[in-house]
Structures are given as C-alpha cells and as structure tokens.
C-alpha cells in the first residue's frame, strides 16, 4: 500500500462506488440521488486536488520571489550603506526615511555655521608625497568628522582641507543649543589637534597641521540646490560667507565666533572681543570674538599636559588615561628623572 496524499477521500469514493455497484441501495430514486451526490463529491474532490496543486505552484513561486526580494534588499542595503558615506548621517536619514522629497526645495532657517581650514595648507604640504598627504588629510578629516557627528553637526562638505558644518538643520535642538554645540565642537576639535600633532610629529611629519575655525549664527537658505538631475543639500547666504571670513581672520589653533554666536553661548564659553571687521555683503560692522582658554580649560581640571623644548617633547591626554595607564606613565617618568639626574 503506497502513500497517497488523498487516501481518505479516495477511500470514501471507492466505498460509495461499492455501495452503488453492489446494489445495496434498492430504491431507484435513492440510488439515483446517491449517485448524484457521489458525482458531486468526485467533482469537488477533483477541484480540491487541482486547487492544492495550483496553490503549491503559487507558494513555490512566492517563496522564490520572497528569496529574490531578500537578496535584492541586501544588495540595496549594501549600496545605500556605501552611498551613506557621501552624505551627512542626518541628511541620509532624512532622505531614506522619506521625511523630505528629493526636489529642489529650500527654506530659510537660523543656523550656526562652522568653517575650518588648515593654516598654510599648500605651503605645509608641498614637500609631501601624495600618499603622505592623503594619509594626513584623511586622518585629520576622519577625526574632525567623528567629533562633528558626536556633537550633532551636519557635515555639509569638505573642500580640500576646509570643512563646512552647520547646526540647526535637518535636526535642531533650538538656536541657542545649536550654537553652543557648534562652539563646543570647535573647541574639542582644537584640543584633539594637539593630540594629532603629537602623533604626526612622532610619525615624522615635520610641519603638522594647525587649524583655524570661524563660527557664525544667522539666517541661511538651506535645502537642495542644483538641478533636478544633480543636487547638493547645502547652505547659502551672507551669514555663511561671514563664517568663512571669521575663519580667515582666526589665529591658528583658535576659534573665532561672531557677535551673534557669542550672544548665544556667552553664559558657557568665555571669549575676548576682537576689532570689528567689514564683510562684503553684510551692511553692518561685525564684531568677532576669540574663544578663550581653549587648551588651558580655565575653571576646569586640565586635560592636557604638554611641553616642547629643544631636545624634549611630551604630551599627556589625561582624559584618555585610566588609573592603570597613569601609574605606568608615572613609573616611566620616574625612570626618566633618574636617567636625567645620572647623566
């Protein structure tokens, strides 16, 4: 006896046929009615078998389609992951969540705009091999971008050694908090540069980068600029130019902010006023402020210990040293003191 998926149904039909064939039903009317019922049952059974077969085929096809969709989804996921590297995470999220359309739409918003560049970049790097320049620039931009993202900045673009970041779009924590986050980011970047310069010097780069930063708060146009075929999510406006100008007058390793930004952060960030400047496209005189004590961290526990002199250079980043590392460093220093005294 071999397995039959429809064994039960087949048995019912066989039994019914036997009843008819053996004349168990003697009344002709009843026999006729019984035969009609059996015929209908056979028809329904045939339909059921057909439906199961069709259903199996459809389910197999659906399963294949689902697997194919899964694979395509994985491919698209990997592609969008690659694409995301070309966009600021906030902009990527905004596009992929469908929050905003991809049209040429802009809006006017009060933003805090950050500009930075490397002082004398061309002169500093003209002696470098392209591979070394690539390493330095990528190392620098990577570290700065990490800090920017941690503070919630939207990285607009890199222009060679220059970085443009803004706060307040697509996500805003309020004008004051956006400005404060931007200035704190600038300060952290300059502090991190101390660390990076020490590293680059150790790697043999004789003229490590020094960064200048300009920050301004004001109304800008933000959104998609370009054409329907190729667009950039960016900012434009006189206030953007002012941030670039402030960066231009900034002292190396410093952070220069506009009066408008200073008004937003003055309760948290000490700064010294500079001479007013005139900026093309802005009718008023602009009073810049230089953020004070970026590396000394007045009023707070010192993070960095650094000293450079002929034949000597040391640098400690206390935030990155736990108790074990500090003890190890102290022992090392004791050995150095002994060596220096014995010489």
């Amino acid at each position: 006896m071999s397995f039959d998926l429809f064994k039960a149904e087949t048995e019912i039909i066989d039994n019914a046929k036997a009843v008819i064939d053996n004349n168990k039903t003697t009344k002709p009317a009843l026999k006729e009615e019984f035969s009609a019922l059996l015929k209908n049952y056979q028809k329904l059974f045939k339909d059921s078998r057909r439906l199961v077969r069709m259903s199996d085929r459809n389910e197999a096809q659906l399963s294949q389609v689902a697997k194919s969709l899964d694979e395509k989804s994985k491919v698209l996921g990997a592609l969008s992951e690659k694409l995301s590297k070309y966009l600021s995470p906030q902009v990527y999220e905004m596009i992929f969540s469908g929050e905003r359309d991809g049209g040429l739409v802009t809006e006017r918003k009060k933003l805090t705009v950050f500009f930075s560049d490397i002082k004398d970049f061309t002169a500093t790097t003209e002696d470098l091999q392209p591979e070394d320049l690539t390493f330095l620039l990528n190392d620098y931009l990577t570290k700065m971008s990490e800090i920017a993202l941690r503070h919630g900045g939207t990285i607009d673009k890199y222009i060679g050694d220059a970085v443009v970041i803004f706060f307040g779009d697509p996500v805003s924590r309020g004008i004051q908090d956006d400005a404060l986050a931007c200035v704190k980011m600038g300060i952290e970047m300059q502090r991190r540069m101390v660390d990076l310069r020490a590293k680059w010097l150790d790697l043999g780069y004789e003229r490590p980068f020094h960064m200048r930063i300009g920050i301004n708060t004001g109304y800008c146009n933000v959104g998609n600029f370009g054409s329907d075929d190729r667009m950039d999510y960016t900012i434009i406006g006189g206030e953007v130019n002012l941030a670039a100008r402030l960066e231009g007058i900034c002292e190396p390793d410093g952070v220069t902010i506009s009066n408008e930004t200073y008004m937003q952060v003055r309760d948290h960030v000490p700064a010294d006023p500079l001479e007013p400047i005139r900026v093309k496209g802005i009718a008023r005189d602009v009073r810049p402020f230089s953020v004070r004590s970026i590396l000394d961290e007045t009023g707070r526990k010192k993070r960095f210990i650094r000293k450079e002199a002929e034949g000597m250079r040391y640098f400690f980043d206390l935030e990155r040293m736990d108790t074990k590392r500090r003890k190890r460093a102290a022992k090392e220093l004791e050995r150095i003191v002994t060596t220096l005294r014995d010489e």
Binding site: S2, L5, L51, V52, S63
Partner: protein, 128 residues
C-alpha cells in the same frame, strides 16, 4: 524500527523520528518538489508504528517556518493519525513551536489544535 534522520534543505524540513523513544520532530520549511515522495514512506512508517502501540507515550514536536498546501494536507492526515492513536491507551503530546512574531504559524497551530481532543496540543513560542 530504525530511526529516521533527514537534514533540512531550503525546501524540505529536518526530520527526526526516534521510534525507540517515541520522540518525533519536524523542523524548518516544507514545500518539496514532490510531497508524496518526501513524506510518503515516513508517514507510512509512522502509521504502522502508531497502530502497533498498545500503550506508552508519544511526543511530536513541530517547529515549522513555512509550508505549502500539500504539506498542510500531510499534516492534517498526521494529526488525524495522532488523534486516533490517542483515543486508545497511548498518551500523545503535540508541541507546536512558533516564532512569537510569526502570526501565520501561530494561527495555523491554533487551527490544528481545534481538531484534537484525545491528544494534548501545546502552543509554544520559540526562545530567541
């Protein structure tokens, strides 16, 4: 009777039938090219084994992710056999495992459970 152990594929489930200890399990996806060829022999063995039992306990575990209509027909027949076996002196326990996010498998389990009276049917969520 020798145990049956079949590795699962992307179209057919993993089968573990331990006739000595009366523990049986079907796991995975089930939409084989030929349902009769895949299930035929093992179902016949099960029916033969269950009909030979006078008493004892049977544990049948189902852990299915997806199955087609023909497999559903096989399962309905299998539940009928288990119910008939449980109507005698054999204790039959069916465990229907499903992912707690899989509403389809949960509903199918509940429907199969409706047809069982003598056999005990447990709905169990899979631990993730």
């Amino acid at each position: 009777m020798d145990s049956i152990k079949i590795e699962g594929t992307d179209r057919s489930p993993e089968i573990e039938f331990d006739f000595t200890n009366n523990k049986f399990s079907i796991r995975g996806e089930s939409y084989p090219e030929d349902v009769t060829a895949f299930y035929g022999e093992m179902i016949e063995k099960l029916e033969s084994h269950f009909s030979s039992m006078d008493d004892g306990e049977i544990e049948f575990n189902f852990e299915l992710i997806y199955f087609n209509s023909s497999t559903a027909k096989v399962l309905m027949g299998l539940f009928d056999t288990l119910e008939e076996t449980a109507e005698g002196a054999v204790t039959v326990t069916v465990n229907w495992y499903y992912d707690e996010e899989d509403d389809t498998m949960e509903e199918l389990g509940e429907e199969f459970a409706e047809d069982l009276e003598a056999a005990t049917f447990h709905m169990k969520t899979l631990e993730t």
